[in-house]
Symmetry: C2
Subunit: 229 residues, 2 copies
């Protein structure tokens, strides 16, 4: 039913096919139905084309995922480098990364291992290394930290409490309610803190506050670590 709609909604005037178009539909499909729904055959169907047609644009399925990651990274909006304090500028970078990834939690996991394979990712890595260097981190530590910051942000997006694959609001509420019920049903003598924290473990009261706290911990931690050197 949904797939019939999708088949219909893309008339695909011959010649529309391109890397960008395929990647865009792959991201949209993953957002709607999860990463497993992204198959070569489904993508071909969406573009009104034979599965083999996609092989003109991508060597194999893995390259499509590379393209998806690159597409996400390309949406990270980097502001110009200034003479502002490094920690403020680094915070802006982290916020930009989150802003690009949060709308696409099911594909965010593709990003970290592919970050240095695209120009956009290299630009962000370059900026991050520059800012960490200004903060006093030696090059090798800065390299480790840059990867760590990125994967930390991606991790926050993936485990955001109450998030659920498929943007269906009812399913989301059901999943939260179910998790909540299973947590408050635990023996409070054995898991007092878990039971008390059940609402916060099951769903995020404020996603913005959740992400702000995560960034605060990272930046504060970096400040502490750099001054200890």
């Amino acid at each position: 039913m949904m797939s019939a709609q999708a088949r219909r909604s893309r008339p695909s005037a011959r010649g529309t096919l391109s890397r960008e178009a395929i990647v865009a539909e792959a991201i949209a499909l993953a957002d709607r139905e999860g990463l497993d729904a992204v198959t070569i055959r489904r993508l071909a169907q969406i573009h009104n084309v034979t599965p083999m047609a996609l092989y003109r644009y991508f060597k194999d399925k893995d390259e499509i995922f590379d393209g998806v990651a690159e597409g996400l990274i390309a949406q990270i909006a980097l502001t110009p480098l200034t003479e502002d304090p490094w920690q403020d500028q680094l915070r802006a970078v982290l916020e930009a990364v989150l802003a690009a990834l949060r709308p696409h939690p099911t594909v965010a996991g593709l990003v970290p291992t592919r970050f240095l394979d695209s120009a956009a990712g290299l630009a962000i890595a370059e900026r991050t290394l520059e800012l960490l260097g200004r903060g006093g981190l030696p090059q090798d530590k800065a390299a480790e930290v840059s990867g760590y910051l990125l994967s930390g942000l991606v991790g926050m997006v993936i485990v955001e409490p109450g998030r659920h694959h498929g943007s269906d609001a009812d399913e989301r509420e059901d999943a939260i309610r179910e998790r909540m019920a299973s947590l408050i049903a635990l023996p409070p003598r054995k898991y007092p803190n878990v039971v008390q924290a059940a609402p916060a473990l099951a769903a995020c009261a404020s996603p913005d506050a959740y992400y702000k706290l995560g960034i605060d911990i990272l930046i504060t931690g970096l400040l502490g670590v750099t001054t200890h050197l």
Copy 2:
């Protein structure tokens, strides 16, 4: 050839089949050949059994992955709660999580979203919440932070520079060399920091130091955030 070996190496005296045995082989298979190699049919072959036999023990493939996550989490060794400073005890928890996940980087990503579904995971969550509470974090913040710590650790394991699927040492070196070459070939005017940091971006000089720095940042960040409340 490898799969023929695997077929041969498990005589499977009838009655050997069990959730634990299937999960153990699933983890071992993922470690050897990556998560995609873990299929119901491959697992059945390893246990000298028909694919359908596994459905006695798992409702579907997703439940096998749940079992794999639970198996990893069960290997996290939790020491008894004491009156030591909370940050020291929290560090010990984080180190225990890393010790369990590091040997299994290809399946580590299964853990965060399934953490609260097993008794072992709940015990660790309970401990973490207790320690964060001692540190002065309110319950709801502690819940967010506990998830964030976990996903941060998993992220570190997944993106550890120079890590590569399949424990083959030659392949690993080739991958590192290739990444290294592509980075130092970049225009140094555009990416001065990336080019300089190329060795550290391509591979970890000391994985232990890499993980220690990550934990330091998290703990230091937490200390800073809690004292600011």
